[in-house]
């Protein structure tokens, strides 16, 4: 389990197979809902309850008693290498922060940078923009793909961008174009972090925001390369935590 700032992600793993995944909103006392979801995943996988070992990571990991705890950096490193062994850089675009982890040739963490002081580009940013646009956050993923001309957002700040979005909506700019402009904002910030790391090797995108196809497309354009995208980018931490418990469930 990856108990993040906004979402708690669960991955049920057996050996080298990811059997089932699920997520719930993070709350102050997550243990109840988390165990409930774990039970549902076991049922889905056709496994009996009680034979499961728990590992937790994420900012709220201490709130899950009875689990082996590990740092996000450790979990993400393991998860990325498991999902795509040649990975050298993992960029986790999460609910309230963006993190970049550099791995050495053996898959061990070599360096990392965290940007958790600024909300731009995070899941929080996208939630705010969805509200400003009057749409469901899920709509943001594919809405921009047909946009002809991305709206130019003249700021890198969530709060100022929100005002610009409100003005653009009032001026009847098509929502797809506004969303495309917002995706470019996210891409600029993420790619700036990637460029600082200066790597030419495989870069994996992880985190909930990486599930947004529009953002991923914008990152590809800004980076001039295709990053590696696992099937469930928001599960990288949870999978990594599960894997680290070794063979078994």
């Amino acid at each position: 389990m990856d108990v993040g700032a906004l979402w708690t992600k669960l991955a049920l793993v057996e050996g080298k197979m990811v059997l089932a995944t699920g997520a719930v909103r993070s709350i102050m006392k997550p243990a109840g809902p988390v165990h409930e979801l774990a039970g549902q995943l076991l049922k889905k996988a056709g496994l009996p309850p009680g034979e499961v070992r728990f590992a937790s990571t994420g900012v709220g990991r201490k709130n899950i008693p009875g689990s082996t705890q590990m740092t996000d950096l450790s979990a993400f490193s393991k998860g990325a290498r498991f999902l795509h062994p040649p990975t050298r850089v993992v960029v986790d675009i999460g609910g309230q922060g963006v993190r970049l982890i550099e791995l050495d040739a053996d898959g061990m963490m070599a360096n990392f940078t965290t940007n958790d002081k600024c909300s731009t580009g995070t899941g929080c940013f996208l939630d705010i923009m969805a509200a400003a646009l009057g749409v469901d956050p899920a709509y943001l993923g594919t809405a921009s793909l047909d946009a002809k001309e991305p709206a130019v957002i003249n700021t890198s700040c969530t709060v100022f961008a929100e005002s610009e979005v409100v003005t653009l909506v009032a001026k009847k700019r098509p929502k797809e174009e506004i969303i495309a402009g917002l995706n470019e904002m996210v891409a600029k910030k993420v790619v700036a972090m990637i460029k600082l790391a200066g790597t030419k090797c495989d870069i994996m995108l992880a985190g909930g925001v990486a599930m947004n196809a529009g953002v991923v497309r914008a990152i590809e354009r800004e980076l001039h390369r295709k990053p590696v995208l696992p099937p469930e980018p928001n599960m990288v931490g949870a999978i990594g935590a599960a894997i680290s418990l070794g063979a078994g469930k």
Binding site: K117, S119, C124, S156, C157, S163
Partner: protein, 264 residues
Amino acid sequence: MITAGIDLGSTYVKAVVLVDGAVKGYGVSPTGHDHDETARLTLGSALQMAGVRMEDLGYIVSTGYGRRVTTLAHETLSEISANAEGTRFVARTLGVRTILDIGGQDTKVIALDEGLNIDNFAMNDKCAAGTGRFIEALAGVLGVGIDDMGPLSLKSKSPQRITSTCTVFARSEVITLIAEGKPKEDIIAGIHESLAKRLATMARKVGVRREVFFDGGPARNVGMRKALESELGVTLVVPERPQIVTATGAAVLAARRLEKAEKR
């Protein structure tokens, strides 16, 4: 000689009408979506207060973020220059060497030399947490009116530290503090302290020399003044109407232009 200055900020538009070297009328309006329209309305209010008509205006100078958008102005002037001009007009003999301006969406520090000319400056317009927007956003969360933030914060005995450096995260932090039952006055005092610290950090890079002049809309906030004075260790010079200093500067430049034109 009648001139006007219009300061088209991102949050508020300010207009000042100068009649024979004295401020006779002014107006302040929320910017909204149409800068030009708001500029027109705001100038209208200022003209009305001054008892003067649009046709009487000899020259109009615009400044601020939206200065090029308005069709009303004969000339545009940068906000930094306009603020310095306005400060010279309002506080010429007070020995001002540093101007601290908190705007709706930016903050500026302007260093002046002995001749009150601009020596150096710094501006932040990238991050809302260092601007008036920070106070506005958090006041919203607290359910406190902007004009009440100052007086309420003076009641605080123990300011509550706000650790978030991002306005968005600070909102969550304040919501949590309210849920924990922390007194509103303490939270507000903490908000002012946060902003004061950020502004002071920027100011020290430029160099803070007395006397320090404090203007911009948030300078009307007594709590903000107190927090800034505490952080910098100086008593601030605050004009009677801090929000219109920059627009006044634009009007003063307009008067100089008109004087020059009339001499020819």
